[in-house]
Structures are given as C-alpha cells and as structure tokens.
C-alpha cells in the first residue's frame, strides 16, 4: 500500500536509523488495514457461536437475505474449496457446520451496504442449537470423548535424555500454572477484498504471514494460489495473534459472491474471539541436584490447553518441552508434554511461543533449588549455565554462541537505577507510584520491596525440519535500489533494517521498499524472532548478487541500466525430534536474563513493578534504537503476564473481552527498563551475526517479576498472573 522512501541521511547497519514509516505514522497518514476504502464497497460481518459446544440443528439465512441492503449471506454450504484450514493441520472449519466447538466460532458471514445493517442481518439469521456440555478441563481432555474427528490430543511429546532414573542429593518439586494471555494488538483485525476480472481476488489484510494467508485462502476458495493476490496492509501490532487466518477466507468469499469490494473490521470484543491466545498451562516439576549445586535431572509433565482447534499448538508444545529445563546443563531429563483440544478459545502463537510458560516454572524451581541447597540464586544459575559446545536436553549440541553466564553476570551485577534501590525511602514515594496507584494507594509502611531473578532461552526461526525460507528481489536502476520482500512489517522495524542492509551491501543511499505482497516469493512469518535473520539474509543475498553483477560489468566496461536479482535465503536444515524427543531440531538459540524489583502492598495484595533490568544475547545489534524498543516492549508484555493480563474463561466463555476488563500495562504500570548489557557475540551463519531479539524480553521477565513477588511475600506464587487474592488468602 505504502511505498516508503529513505530519509535524507542514510545510515548503514549498526546505526540507529529512523523508521521510514515513522513520518506517515506520526502524521496519521499511514494506512492500516482498518483504514482501507474502495468505491462501492460492502461491509462484512460474522455471525458467531454463543455456545462453547453445541450441535447446529438448523440454520435459516432467508430473513437476513430478505433485508434491503444485504447482498450475501454465506455459510459452510457456500465454501467452494476446502471447508477447513489451519497453519499446521487443516482442522478448523471456515464456518461451523453440524457442531460448534468454541464461543465465537464463525457460523455465517453477511455482506451489506452499511456495517450496522450487516450486524443486524447477522442477528436475523436463525440458528437452532442443541447445547452440549463443553469440555473445558485440559487434563480431562486427554482421556475424554473426542470433541473433533481428529481427536483431543493435538500433540503428546516425550523427551528422554540421559539416565531418566538418575537421582540427586536434593530434590525440589512444584506445580505451576499460567493463565491465558492475549496479544491485544492495538489495531483490530481488518481486511479488504476486491474481486478481479479473471475470477481471482485481491486481498489487503493486516497480517504477519501473507503467503500462508494466501495459500490457506486459495485452498478454501478452490482457486489456484496465484489467483489470490494478497498484500500486507498496515498492521497495528501482531505478537503472534495474526499468524493464523481469521477473516481472510470470509472477506474473499463475500467479494467473489457479490462481485464488489468487501471490507471486514473486527470490533475489540470480536477481536478477543477472533484470534488465538497464549496457551494456559499446568506444569508439574521435579528438579534433582547434587549438594554442590550441579543439576542432575529435570522431570516435568506439562499440559497445554490448545482450545478447540490445532493452530500452532504442536510447535508451541515442542518449545515448551525443549526449553523446559532452562538454559542450564541438564544431563538427564524426562519431560512429558501434552497439547490438548478443549472447548476453550483456540490458542496458538504469542511472543515467546511455549517457552514463556515453562520458563515461569523452571525458574521458580531454580530458586527453590538454590534455597534448598543454601546457594545464592544467581550463583546456582551460573554454576549450571549452558556454554557453547554443551548439549541440551534434546541431545543437540550448541554450535553457535551461548553467552549465558555473560547475560546472568551483566544483569545480576548491574547497579540499581535511582528509585529502585532495595532499601527505598518508600514513605516519600509519590502516591501514584505505589502499589494500587491512584485507586487504592498503599500505606507506605506496609509496602515490601524485593527482587527476583530469572534466565531463559529460546530457539530462533522455525524448528523440527521446517524450511522457513525468505525471498527478496532487489532492483537497482538510476542509482535507486528497490527491495521487494513479503516480510510483514507489524511494528518490529524490518522496513528500517531492510534499508540499512541494502545500503550497507550496495553502498547506495536511496532504498525504496516495494509493497509486501505475494508477487514475490514467501518471506515466511513475522514470528519466532526470525525476520532479521531470514528476510534480512534474503535482502543481503539479493543485494550481493546485484552487486556482483554490477562489479563484473564495470570490470568488463558493459554497464547495464537495470540490475535485478532474487535470492531465497534458507537457514541450516533442522531435524524432527525422534520418539525420545531427541534430535538437532533447532537452528540457533537466544538467551536473556531479567532482574525485577517490586513493591508489594501486604494489606491489599497489590503489586507495583518498580524496575526490570535485563541483559540479552543479541549476536550483533543492527539498529540500537530499534533493539531497545523491542526489549522494552517485550518486557512490558512479560510484566503484564506477571501481574495483570489474563483472559478469564468460564465454561469456555471469555468474561473480560474488552480493554476495560482485560488490563494492559499503562505508562504508570510499566517499570523503568534498564538494559545492563547487550551481549554482542556474532552468531555464525546469521546475517551480520545478528540474532533475533523480539521474544527473549517477554520470556524471563514474567518469571523474574513472579520471583520478586515471592521474595516480598513469602507466598508460593505458583500461578501467573498474580492476583491480589493469591497474596492474601
């Protein structure tokens, strides 16, 4: 949609280049999917199930179709291609037919000439249900009667590593839970579909994976993929919540049926049922160690609630298990993971992708272990910290960088920022900055301050044999370079990096970015901290091909007017995990440490996070100001999960689907974020040595805040988000 040009100054790799989309964004000129408009366009609206589990006895759309201004009403009977879709397995119906499996499942869509009319037409559709008992207990789902033809087990993964019968001198146990977090991106789901003369369709959609959108949509429309021309529309955040499709098929079906452009735009409450969430998890852990603090074995059993459909549950569970022992040398491990289907809202990708949940558990365990051994908590982590050449619990040897001890030391040794000292003058703290803020301000004498520490690691890019390549096409003409890459810019700043990389390689100042669309090969998903590595590498590769041609021609004295090259960047191949959960399943790893300081009001159970200090393994910083932005923003979401963010689900129904009731940290809730160190050890095989940086900030920040609350209160704090009741009763 937008073609952006460079600013006058042209910074290269490693400099704090400003976003090329920054000016239109601060001016309100940047067009989000929400803002798109086409002449004669209709508005699409979705009718959704009010039940978590029910049989559909009858659907009658005639009252809606009879309304003046309604142009189409479509149900499962109107899907010409595949009736089901899904990122990993096609198990989710475009429209429910026969049975509904979660509250909010689409039943029908309407196109009308006014959004309000479309909404009323949805209400006019008659659906008769026979309500069934919903399956909402993830543990029970393992053995309960199947609620889907594919069964209730989305994945059962067992990691057996070393001697699974090994016993330590000291054993600590715990049971931990994580609630359901929402990505809560600011720009609700939106898309515009325009029918093409040849029977195909153009789709402009806010997304983080436009080629997967295209492929799934085409399959459901019964069209060859190249007849669905998809473009990334301005995207107001994503954080995993836009990796699965939502309205893509619906809006295209309506456009093709009516022959007119159709726009769909979710309301905020609809958005909460329109995308997947972070999996709620229940995790049982047992750690064994020698008296000197050496970890002997980690045992765990984790159950992740995948909700009604598969989405990416399988890969999420793999991450949860693979990184479930933390960034430590663990010679023996037995980890059993289940991802199960229930009638709860579907869960899938969210920043941290499975590693967040088990990090909360394994870091609580590390603190327990340290206390049981009477070893300092940081020291215990240092003694067991992974190093390059070590083997992780999946049997994979770390061949790249692993500065685990470096991130731990830098974070633990950092001075406390002003105001976050451990011995505060709390009586002089401004009322607003006390637990409870302006609403229920604490009595300063009853506030306890404490710190917590946590470390994490996670894979970069997709794992388990998935070849998630990226493609870039670069053209140089009249001294201007044009980069065409389908990488979805969702706020992370790839547009800035793409320009920096092209300038660096080509030594050309002016770099234009073509729209991210399906007229070029796939860039894969903007997820898994992968785009700097994958699409950054694709842009670098294409630029190098162009540069080589230009240099060869210059040497031969035959200069061309236009140079163009396309490069497909693949990361090193990975393996699937075997029946013991062993294999070289991952490309690369990133590590981070977090130290949180909290104030807890002991009377009311309210928490204020005062500071989060971090050190992170980044490989190499390509843009310092953007790296900082990712770290600060990621920590905000980690803090949110620790103390306030939870979708409250009751019998499959989300009870707080609004920004009034689903709380996101505001500027007053957010602590200061102090970056003690960005550890720059260039990663072999990574373009410019840079590792992805988006996810690690979210992973151990939650665990660090929880540890600090535990330290302040002496409570178990075995569940996040921490609620006042958890600290009082």
């Amino acid at each position: 949609m937008t073609t952006t040009r460079t600013q006058a100054r042209a910074p290269r790799v490693g400099e704090s280049a400003l976003r090329p989309d920054g000016i239109p964004k601060v001016q309100g000129r940047f067009l989000f999917g929400n803002d798109l408009w086409a002449d004669g366009m209709l508005w699409g609206k979705t009718l959704r199930s009010p039940h978590a589990h029910a049989r559909i006895a009858r659907i009658d759309v005639t009252p809606a179709l009879a309304m003046t201004g309604v142009f189409a009403v479509l149900t499962a009977d109107d899907v010409p291609g595949s009736g089901v879709f899904g990122l990993e397995q096609a198990d989710q119906p475009v429209f429910a037919s026969g049975v509904v499996r979660y509250v909010g499942e689409p039943i029908a869509v309407v196109a009308a000439d006014h959004p309000e009319l479309a909404r009323r037409a949805c209400e006019a559709i008659v659906v008769e249900y026979e309500v069934l008992t919903p399956l909402v207990d993830s543990q029970a789902a393992i053995t309960a009667a199947a609620i889907h033809p594919d069964g209730n087990i989305l994945r059962h993964l067992v990691i057996r590593h070393g001697d699974i019968d090994a016993i330590g001198d000291v054993v600590v146990e715990g049971i931990y839970e994580v609630g359901m977090q929402d990505q809560a991106f600011m720009g609700p789901e939106s898309g515009l579909a325009i029918p093409d003369d040849d029977g195909g369709v153009q789709l402009f959609v806010s997304t983080q994976f436009v080629h997967a959108d295209r492929d799934q949509t085409a399959a459901c429309l019964g069209l060859p993929p190249d007849m669905v021309r998809a473009t990334v529309a301005g995207t107001g955040g994503a954080f995993g919540g836009r990796e699965d499709i939502c309205l893509q098929v619906h809006v295209c079906l309506l456009a093709l049926r009516t022959g007119r452009p159709v726009k769909m735009l979710y309301s905020r409450d609809e958005s909460f049922v329109g995308h997947v969430h972070r999996h709620p998890a229940r995790m049982e852990y047992r750690h064994h160690a020698r008296r000197d603090g050496t970890i002997v074995k980690v045992e765990a059993r984790v159950v992740f609630d995948g909700g009604a459909y598969a989405s990416t549950s399988s890969a999420v569970l793999a991450n949860a298990c693979c990184f479930g022992a933390g960034p430590y040398r663990v010679p023996n491990a037995f980890i059993e993971g289940w991802a199960v289907r229930t009638n709860n809202p579907p869960c899938g990708a969210m920043r941290g992708f499975g590693a967040v949940q088990t990090c909360f558990a394994h870091e609580a365990q590390m603190d327990k272990l340290a206390d049981a051994l009477a070893i300092d908590r940081v020291e215990l982590r240092l003694r067991n910290a992974l190093e390059p050449g070590d083997t992780i619990i999946t049997g994979q040897r770390i061949t790249g960088t692993a500065p685990v001890a470096a991130v731990i030391r830098a974070c633990a040794d950092a001075p406390f920022p002003a105001g976050a000292e451990l011995d505060p003058d709390s009586e002089s703290a401004p009322m607003l900055l006390r637990p409870g803020g302006a609403g229920r301000t604490a009595d300063a004498r009853h506030v306890t301050r404490a710190l917590g520490f946590a470390v994490s690691y996670k894979n970069l890019m997709f794992s388990e044999g998935f070849d998630d390549y990226s493609t870039a096409r670069v053209r140089v003409e009249d001294g201007i370079a044009t980069v065409h890459c389908a990488c979805a810019e969702v706020g992370q700043g790839f547009v800035t990096l793409a320009q920096q990389i092209a300038r660096e390689v080509l030594d050309i100042d002016e770099v234009v970015l073509a729209p991210a669309d399906t007229h070029v090969g796939s860039a894969g998903s903007t997820s898994a901290s992968r785009q700097t590595w994958m699409s950054g590498g694709a842009v670098e590769g294409a630029c190098r091909l162009v540069k080589a041609q230009m240099e060869a021609d210059a040497a031969a004295g035959t200069v061309q007017r236009v140079y163009e090259a396309t490069f497909e960047h693949h990361h090193a191949p990975t393996q699937r995990l075997d029946e013991n959960g062993q294999g070289d399943a991952h490309v690369s790893f990133a590590f981070a440490a977090h130290r949180a300081v909290v104030d807890v009001d002991r009377d009311l159970g309210l928490v204020r996070v005062v500071d989060v200090t971090t050190a992170q393994d980044v490989g190499r910083v390509l843009n310092p100001v953007q790296a900082l932005g990712q770290i600060e923003g990621g920590i905000a979401q980690g803090v949110g999960l620790a103390v306030m963010e939870e979708l409250v689900v009751d019998q499959g129904r989300i009870r707080n689907a609004s920004f009034t009731d689903y709380l996101i940290p505001t500027a007053l809730d957010m602590p200061t974020v102090t970056v003690a160190a960005l550890i720059e050890e260039p990663e072999p095989g990574a373009p410019f040595g840079a590792k992805g940086i988006g996810e690690p900030p979210t992973i151990s920040s939650t665990a660090a805040v929880a540890a600090a609350i535990r330290a302040a209160t002496g409570r178990a704090v075995d569940r996040v988000p921490v609620r006042p009741d958890d600290l009082l009763f």
Binding site: V26, G236, G237, P430, G491, E632, S658, T666
Partner: protein, 161 residues
C-alpha cells in the same frame, strides 16, 4: 433513522455533513470525512487511540457523538502539525525518540501529548507517566514515548526561544 445536519470546523476547514444521531465523532471523522488518522482501538474510551482536540480540549472521539460536536472546532492528527507536510514538535519527537513501533496508537498519543504540553510545558517524569496513562501502547513499553515527551518540550522551547 433520521439524519441530522452538522457543521464543524476540522483542522481549520469548515465541514458540513449529515449524520445519524448515533454516529460517533470518531466514525464521522473516519468514514464521512476520510480522516483515517484518528484510530479506533477499543470503542469505549479506554485506549486513547481516537483522541482529538475539541475546542482545544483532548477528548476521546469514540465517546463523543458527531452531533454533540456540531459547531465545535476539531483538530485531528492530520491537523496537529504547523502546516501540511511539516511535523510539529511532538510528532518530530516521537520520530526521533523511537516513540512508536506499529504506530496504531501514535496519533492518539501525539494529540494527547500536544494538549498536555500546552498546559504543562515542563513536566517531570512522573507527571508525564500519569498523563500518558490514559493512552495504551502495546509495542513500546513507553520508555521511548516518555523520552519523546521530554524531547518535545525541548523542541517547543527551541522554537519559541
């Protein structure tokens, strides 16, 4: 449904239109006047993305009916700069300080901060955070935004010095 005629001044320009009584100012600006820089994030006054100036006061345009704004003077993000194509100090500061990522919340923040700094030209960190707490950003963690507010005060001071 009965349309009502309204006349408002938007970004210095007199605009007339007909609207249903139930239409919010946000929808009127976006759908009738094609001023899509005013974003709707929550639809009920929590997130602040739709903030505009109404007779100089920052308001959430999703909580104001278009008919209530009849006769008012509205400034949206599109009119917050000194002249078309030039950035105002708050806009410039958000750019420089990386006070945005996805940018969906940015217009609301820029308008809110512009209004705030007109009343409070030299705020402390705590005052800034209190003021900003009426707007939600999901990407940045706010540090870039707090820095942008400080930077904006400098830019305003430089411009008036």
């Amino acid at each position: 449904m009965t349309d009502q005629a309204i006349a408002i001044t938007v970004n210095g320009e007199r605009r007339k239109g007909r609207t249903e009584a139930r239409t919010t100012l946000a929808d009127f600006l976006r759908d009738e006047l094609a001023l899509t820089g005013t974003h709707v994030g929550c639809e009920h006054g929590v997130c602040g993305a739709c903030t505009v100036l109404l007779d100089g006061e920052a308001v959430r345009s999703c909580l104001v009916l278009a008919v209530q704004a009849d006769g008012a003077d509205i400034t949206t993000i599109e009119g917050i700069g000194p002249e078309p194509g030039r950035l105002g100090p708050v806009q410039q500061a958000f750019m420089e300080c990386h006070g945005l990522q996805c940018g969906f919340c940015t217009p609301g923040f820029v308008v809110s901060v512009t209004s705030f700094l007109a009343e409070q030209p030299a705020p402390t960190d705590d005052e800034i955070r209190e003021m900003l707490s009426g707007n939600i950003c999901r990407c940045t963690g706010y540090q870039g935004i707090v820095a942008a507010v400080h930077r904006a005060t400098e830019l305003i001071e430089e411009a008036t010095a």
